[in-house]
């Protein structure tokens, strides 16, 4: 899932600025399950903004609504009337949600209420850890399902650096060495020989180095007639 964290109320207040009518928009997918921007969080942020602006002597009209997914036009259509009625939209979606709102409602001023942080998972209740860097050319088949890009601090491809100490990464004792994890995993599967193959430098053109990425699936596109709505 996409993991995000709420911005401080102070920063949110400065982003909202002088706007009098604010719509807090939550998102019902990734940021709901990481407890950053779902319906509950939207209600709490909205109450906090109302209370705090009233205490500041400038009460704002703050309402909240949560859509299933901010990153699809169909779900945004449902809130068009509410979006148009306010001065600013505070999106509690990930960065994609914020941009989707900006793109879908060109007349609207939208600001982010979250910091979109990484792609990861909850390792235990209340703890989320990064697992993938969306490099566009997945190597997990070479490493027993442990990502060397996201989980090795230096994104090394051919084994650990010299700083791997007792299973910990040299940049921080709290971080397990990604390559130790890969080694242990391959060892337990009897596949250590896989490490004997030297990996050539990674082709980063599939990652961010080639600019914004795009996927087009001809088999899924609408034909011209369907697109024009007839």
């Amino acid at each position: 899932m996409i993991v995000a964290e709420q911005k401080s109320l102070e920063e949110i207040k400065s982003l909202v600025g002088n706007a009098e009518k604010v719509l807090v928009v939550g998102c019902g997918t990734c940021v709901t399950v990481c407890f950053a921007g779902g319906a509950r969080e939207a209600a709490i942020v909205s109450a906090s903004l109302r209370m705090s602006s009233k205490l500041d002597g400038n009460p704002k009209e703050v309402t909240d609504v949560t859509v299933q997914r901010q990153c699809e036009w169909e779900y945004l259509d449902e809130i068009a009337a509410q979006v148009e009625a306010v001065d600013v939209v505070l999106s509690l979606g990930c960065g994609i949600g914020v941009q989707a709102i900006a793109e879908h409602f060109p007349n609207t001023w939208v600001v982010p209420g979250l910091n979109t942080t990484f792609l990861g998972l909850p390792t235990e209740q209340g703890t989320w850890v990064e697992r993938c860097a969306a490099c566009g050319d997945c190597l997990l088949g070479l490493t027993g399902g442990i990502c060397p890009i996201a989980r090795c601090s230096k994104s090394l491809l051919n084994g650990p650096c010299g700083g791997s100490i007792d299973g910990h990464c040299e940049i921080d004792d709290e971080i397990p060495c990604g390559w130790q994890l890969i080694y242990d995993r391959l060892n337990s599967k009897g596949k250590l020989d896989m490490l004997m193959d030297i990996q050539p430098p990674k082709n980063w053109s599939t990652s961010r180095d080639g600019g914004p990425r795009k996927i087009v699936r001809e088999d899924l596109r609408l034909n011209e007639k369907e697109e024009s709505g007839s």
């Binding site: 401080s8 109320l9 102070e10 709490i44 906090s48 209370m51 705090s52 009233k54 205490l55 500041d56």
Partner: protein, 76 residues
Amino acid sequence: MPGDCHYLEGNTNARRRVNHLQDLLEKIGLEKERVRMFNLSAAMAGQFVEMANEMTEQIKVLGPNPLRNSQKESEE
């Protein structure tokens, strides 16, 4: 009492949430002392009265909730 909860950990979870709410109140600009957690057992009637008095005294010191004013007239 902590560690002696009917649902085992309900009141320790509650305490963590009360702490979180107190932090949030400070950011909002309300005194965090307006929210407080107490622990007691079913037999502690005297302690219940004590904590009710203590809380009421604390709130009297803080005075009325500044968010209350405008709604007041319509309510009573």
